[in-house]
Symmetry: C2
Subunit: 384 residues, 2 copies
C-alpha cells in the first residue's frame, strides 16, 4: 500500500487507521503489563490472612505471567517491524504519530483489538485451534472443490473472494487448493498479523515456529493455575510460497474496495465465514456479495448472527435468506453431513439447503467455558 | 426494611441503591422504547432499494416490539408499586430522588440491571427455563435431602443460607423441601422482582399468571423473525404460602450482613449457585461461607469461574479448592451422575469429589447461540 500524504485527521483514513493499529502494537507490552500490575495490586488488597489462604504461589504466577508477556512482546515487535517495512512507515514517523495523539481523549491504539488479533494465531494457525477449524473449514473447502473438480489451470482461473479474512487461514487453504484467492480485511490489527504470519513462508524455510502465550490475559474459567502459562506453537503448518503465488490480501472496506468495473462481476465465488454479522449495514454487504460475483457465481456462507456494535438492522436468519433471494440468489442443496436442517424441514423452499452446525469458539480447550454458535451454512448461486 | 433517614450521598448506602434501582424500573419503558427507536432509525438509514430488499415487515416487527414493551412495562410497574409499598417509599419521594439526580454524569438507574433481572423470570420461574434449572437444581436439592433424610420438624430446624439468590427459585425450592431458608441478595434490581414474584403466592390464589416478552431486547441469533415476539408465561408454579413461612429474604452484602454473633456459626448449610465468581474478593466470600456455618455444616457449590468486574484475585478451580481446605473444609464424595471428575481422576485428594457439569445459559432455546459453562459442583464439610 502506498503511503498516502494527505491529512491524517479523518478518523477512517487508512493511513491514520494503520498508524493507530501500529501504536496498539507498540504499546502492547506496557498495556498488558499494566493488566498484570492491576492483578498484582489486587493481591495486595487482600489482608495478611487472606494472602496466606490463597498462598503466595498466586503471586509467583503473576511474576511468571509478566515474563511470558515479554516473550509475547517479541512476536508483537516482529509483527510491527514487518508492518513498518511493508507499509513503508518509518519508526520515527510512528513515534511522532504516537506522540501527537498522546493527549487524545481516548487511547489511539485499541489494546483489545491487538489482543484479539494475537488470539487468532490460536484459532487460525495452531494445533490447539484445529477443532475450531475442523468444525468450519471442511464444508467450505469441499463445496469449492465440487464447484471445480479439476485442479490445475482450471482452478487457478477461478477467482475466490474471502472478505473478513482475519489472519488468513481459510483464504490460505482455498489458495492451497489451487484457486486464485483474494483475502480482504478491514482491520489493520488483523492484516498486520496476517501479513507477518504469511511472510514466514519465505523467511522460515527451515520451519521455525513461534510460541505465543495467549492465556496470560484470561484468568477466568481455569481448572488449574498453570493453565494460564501454557504456550501455543504456531504456525502448525508452514505457509507454502507456491500457494501464496495465487494469494492477494487487500486491506480495506469490503463495501468500498470492489466498486470498480474491473472488480464487479469478476469473482467465481465469495466465501463469508463468521463475517456477515459484522456489518453495520448487512443489506449493503449482501448487495456487495451479489455485485462482485459473476453471473452463475457462488456464495458460500458459514457463521452466526451475532450483530456487532451499532448495526443498522438485525435481521433474522429467515429475513437474510429472503433478502438473498430477492437480490437474485438461488439456494442450493447442501450435504446432510454438514448439519441439520435449520428449520427442521418446516420451510419447503429452504429444506435440505440451510443447515446449522455447532461452531465452537471455546478456543481454550482446557477452559471451563463451553461456548458455541449454531453457525448457519448455505450455498447460493447468483441466478440473476 | 425500615426506611433510613440518613444521607443519601454515599453511593453504597442501601436507601440510595434502592431508590436508584427504583428509578431503573420507572425509566424501563422510556429506555427500552429508545432502543426500539434506535432500531427504527437504523431502518431509515437504509436506502430505498435496501429497505425494499429487507421488506417493510421488518418495520412492522419494530412496531409490534414497541407494543410488547408496553405490556412488559405493566409488569415492571407492578414490581415498582409492590416495592414502594414494601420498602415504605412514597412515589413523590422517588420522583424527587429521580429529579435530584437528573443531571448526574451517569444515569442513576442501571437499565441493563433492570433488563437482566426481568430476564431471570425466564430462568427461575418459567417452563422455558426448566432446562436450565434441571441442569443445576437436582444435585443441590438431593444433597440437602440426603443431609437430612427426615422431613417435618427435623428439616424445619435446619437453617440454609442461599447468598446471591437472584429471583429466588432455588431458595424457594429448598424451602419447599421443608428447610428454613434465608435467601440473600445484594442487588435491589433482583430483590424487588424477587419479592414481587413471591408475593404472587398471596395475591393470586386462583393462579393468575403474567406474560413477559423477554426477547424484545435481543435480536441477534434469531432463526425466524417472529421469535423476538414470543411471550413467556410465569410463574409456571404458584409459590406456596406455606413454603414461604420458612423463607426469609435478606437484602444486602453477604460479607457484611452475617458478621453478628447471632449469625456466625448458625447455618447448617450454605448453598452457592453461580455465586462465588461474582466476588470482588473471593477469599473473603470463602471466609464468610466458613464463618456462618455451624461446626460440621455443609457448603454446596455449583457454578462457573467467570470473574466479574474488578475482581481483586482470580484463582483457578484448583486454588479455590485448596483455599477451602486451608480454611477448614473437607471435600465430600459426590455422585457420579452429577458430572465427570473435574480433574479426570488425576488429583487423588479431589477424585470423585469435584465434578463438572454442563450448565447452559442459553436461556432462549430458539436462539442460534449455544453457550454453556462447565459448572463446578462440590460438597464440603466444615471440619474445623
Amino acid at each position: 500500500m502506498a503511503r498516502s500524504t494527505g491529512s491524517t485527521r479523518l478518523k477512517s483514513h487508512p493511513r491514520r487507521r494503520l498508524l493507530a493499529a501500529m501504536v496498539g502494537l507498540l504499546e502492547y507490552s506496557d498495556r498488558t503489563q499494566a493488566g498484570v500490575q492491576k492483578k498484582r495490586s489486587g493481591w495486595w488488597k487482600l489482608n495478611d490472612r487472606q494472602r496466606e489462604i490463597l498462598s503466595s504461589s498466586y503471586l509467583e504466577r503473576l511474576n511468571e505471567t509478566s515474563n511470558l508477556i515479554k516473550k509475547n512482546n517479541q512476536i508483537v515487535q516482529q509483527i510491527l517491524d514487518h508492518s513498518l517495512a511493508f507499509y513503508n512507515i518509518s519508526f520515527p514517523d510512528l513515534l511522532r504519530f504516537q506522540s501527537a495523539h498522546k493527549s487524545d481523549p481516548r487511547p489511539i491504539g485499541d489494546h483489545t483489538s491487538v489482543v484479539q488479533s494475537l488470539k487468532h494465531f490460536v484459532r487460525d494457525w495452531s494445533t490447539a485451534g484445529a477443532h475450531e477449524r475442523e468444525s468450519t473449514f471442511p464444508q467450505i473447502l469441499s463445496t469449492l472443490e465440487t464447484l471445480c473438480p479439476e485442479g490445475g489451470d482450471q482452478r487457478a482461473r477461478q477467482k475466490i473472494l474471502v472478505p473478513g479474512a482475519g489472519l488468513g487461514r481459510l483464504a490460505y487453504e482455498i489458495s492451497a487448493l489451487g484457486f486464485t484467492t483474494v483475502a480482504n480485511e478491514y482491520s489493520f490489527y488483523m492484516s498486520m498479523a496476517h501479513r507477518w504470519v504469511l511472510s514466514l513462508a519465505d523467511h522460515d524455510e527451515g520451519g521455525t515456529q513461534h510460541t505465543y502465550y495467549p492465556f496470560v490475559n484470561w484468568w477466568s474459567h481455569q481448572r488449574e493455575s498453570r493453565n494460564v502459562l501454557r504456550g501455543i506453537t504456531f504456525p502448525e503448518v508452514q505457509p507454502s510460497s507456491k500457494a501464496l503465488e495465487r494469494y492477494t490480501l487487500l486491506e480495506g472496506d469490503f463495501t468500498k474496495l470492489f466498486l470498480d468495473d474491473g472488480e464487479r462481476g469478476s469473482y467465481d465465488a465469495v466465501v463469508t465465514l463468521f463475517f456477515i454479522d459484522t456489518a453495520r449495514n448487512i443489506v449493503e454487504y449482501l448487495e456487495n456479495i451479489h455485485a462482485v460475483l459473476k453471473a452463475g457465481g457462488t456464495w458460500i456462507n458459514l457463521g452466526p448472527l451475532l450483530y456487532g456494535t451499532g448495526p443498522w438492522v438485525e435481521p433474522s436468519l429467515g429475513e437474510i435468506l429472503q433478502m438473498a433471494q430477492r437480490l437474485g440468489f438461488e439456494l442450493l442443496p447442501t450435504d446432510g453431513r454438514f448439519g441439520a436442517d435449520s428449520f427442521n424441514g418446516q420451510v419447503p423452499e429452504w429444506k435440505g439447503k440451510v443447515r446449522g452446525c455447532l461452531a465452537g469458539y471455546s478456543w481454550d480447550k482446557e477452559s471451563l467455558s463451553r461456548n458455541a454458535y449454531e453457525a448457519q451454512f448455505w450455498v447460493a448461486r447468483k441466478v440473476r
